[in-house]
């Protein structure tokens, strides 16, 4: 059954992005806005806008019942959660299922399986996907038995969530008992789940992730990989597809591993399987699976020519016909995230009103943004202003186009990381390609 009306439970650039595809498919859109977003660009693009609450996310974009009520009352047959907010909350997906609304994403139980990091690890192992040596620890005795086999340094991680909370690095095994207590307390406070597990610490690695689309019936295709190794405190800054300096056999192994996991889960919709890759050793390890559309999905769209949102909607409607043969990687694409933050003040968010917004255009250039002149950047949400994506026949051409695009971009009224990003693109190590996740830290150490 084709979708007629989609409720968009998100904001910012991804809301604008979702509306664009819905419009091209002749699907009506209803957008949820908080009071702070009433006059946003997506609010002017949607067919209908409903104000769901005050600016604070807890009072608006995180209110599952309010969003479902709004979707039902405005005659929508599906909800697209975008990324962040409620996109990976199993309870929200379940509420949609119970109310007869199509949740554009995986099933609630699939979200649960991937949200529990230990279970995700177990599923990956069962699918024959390599994981970082480690395992669950239920007690200090468990930990003291497992740790020597892994060797120091090692990581204590929270089962219930990521983002660095509940995570502790143990340099010497004598520190283990104290670090274990601290990690469990932190995890309990952050996720309401004090369970932790141990993993060997892999010091040098690249972050490479595989985009997959599952049909929900055990079938899945991959849309190639993305390298997102340029990160600052686990926040990605630059992404590209394909991943540079990766031997063809290793690339194929990554794709196959991601597909094995997706097929094992009978995964439905768009998902991303993240790996830590040791390119020199030719080894890789499963990190986690993100059960949603990613911020960096445009680089994949640029090299495949596919519309991932349209594919998500087709799967949700039970009409997907995508096969692996349809997926052809052409050229290279790179993306820079432009954030309202001040690099001079430790990347402090910089909310305010945008007084000037000149985004680039030109051959191979795509801009995904919700920001124009006069747009407000409310203090309640993430600081992403937009994404500049460049495509070219080769990495060199794509990189040149991206550098030119950034050079002509002007954002005024708020601080941005534009200059910082320009510096990164010109860095000799990045120009060569294949930097690891320590790139940014080592770079700032040299400056």
């Amino acid at each position: 059954m084709p979708l007629r009306s989609v409720f968009i439970a998100n904001r910012g650039e991804i809301a604008a992005r979702l509306i664009r595809t819905c419009r091209s498919l002749d699907i009506r859109t209803v957008l949820a806005v908080s009071e702070a977003d009433r006059d946003s660009r997506p609010a002017h693009m949607a067919d209908r806008v409903v104000c769901i609450g005050p600016g604070r996310p807890a009072d608006s974009y995180l209110r599952a019942e309010t969003l479902v009520q709004a979707a039902l009352s405005t005659g929508c047959d599906a909800i697209h959660p975008g990324y962040g907010f409620l996109s990976e909350r199993a309870a929200f997906a379940r509420l949609c299922e119970q109310q007869g609304l199509i949740f554009v994403g995986p099933t609630a139980s699939q979200i649960e399986a991937m949200g529990d990091k230990l279970r995700a690890r177990t599923e990956a192992e069962a699918a024959g996907v390599p994981v970082v040596p480690g395992g669950a620890v239920h007690s200090r005795q468990d930990a003291e038995q497992l740790a020597p086999r892994l060797g120091a340094p090692l990581l204590i991680k929270a089962v219930g969530g990521g983002g660095g909370r509940g995570m502790k690095r143990v340099e010497q095994l004598t520190e283990l008992p104290i670090a274990l207590d601290m990690a469990a307390a932190e995890a309990g406070a952050a996720f309401g789940d004090a369970r932790v597990y141990l993993e060997r610490y892999v010091a040098r690695g690249r972050h490479v992730e595989v985009q997959i689309m599952g049909d929900g019936c055990g079938g899945a295709v991959h849309l190639g990989e993305r390298d997102c190794s340029v990160q600052r405190r686990y926040q990605k800054l630059i992404e590209e597809s394909p991943a540079p300096a990766l031997a063809a056999p290793l690339r194929h192994e990554l794709h196959d591993a991601a597909l094995r996991l997706a097929r094992r889960l009978h995964y439905r919709g768009a998902g991303t399987v993240e790996f830590l890759v040791d390119a020199d050793a030719g080894a890789f390890y499963f990190l986690e699976m993100n059960a949603r559309i990613q911020v960096e999905h445009p680089v994949t769209e640029m090299v495949t020519g596919l519309d991932i949102v349209a594919e998500q909607l087709a799967i949700a409607a039970g009409e997907s016909r995508l096969t692996q043969e349809d997926v052809r990687i052409t050229g290279w694409a790179l993306e820079c995230r432009i954030n309202a933050e001040d690099p001079a003040r430790d990347f402090l968010p910089s909310p305010g009103t945008v007084t000037e917004a000149a985004w680039p255009a030109g051959e191979g250039i795509r801009v995904d943004t919700h920001i124009g002149e006069g747009s407000r950047v409310p203090p309640f949400y993430d600081s992403l202003l937009g994404k500049i994506i460049a495509h070219g026949a080769t990495r060199t051409e794509a990189l040149q186009r991206l550098e030119t695009a950034l050079a002509v971009t002007r954002i005024g009224g708020v601080h941005t990381n534009l200059d910082f990003q320009r510096g990164l693109l010109a860095d000799p190590a990045f120009v060569v390609g294949g930097v690891d996740t320590g790139f940014l830290a080592s770079r700032s150490g040299n400056v």
């Binding site: 009071e35 009433r38 104000c51 769901i52 609450g53 608006s60 709004a70 009352s73 109310q99």
Partner: protein, 159 residues
Amino acid sequence: MSLNAKEVAEILKALEASGFDTLELEMGGVKLSLRRSGPMTSGVAAPASTARDAAPVLAPIRSASTSAAPASTPVAVPPGTQAVTAPLLGIFYRAPKPGEAPYVEVGQRVAADTIIGIIEVMKLMNTVRAGCNGEIVAIPARNGELVEYGEALLFVRPD
């Protein structure tokens, strides 16, 4: 014979899906009295937990009339009045239950704690209070329809 919690839940579902507002059921010494969109009355033989789950929860919500910007609501505020706005998004009901008299009418005086309607969010009933003292000049919000957060429910000429 008696009804178990599961059977009561089934009956509730049937009532919700039906066009009826009330249901009276007597069988084998059990008397069940159910009513849509209103508080439960006496004579309920269902287990306490089921009755509590099924009964609409009336949670008092302070009116956001002073904090919401009137300019952002589509309805223009008549001169000399102030809007009482929806403190949350949901379905607005002017009366405690279908067929009953509305909580308030145009011309009526309200005090800050006067209940002016109910907003339903996923079967959860929230009472809305006027939040100000004065006389009701108009009621732009329609019964049984979606109201957004900050939308004008009624206009009051303050004292």
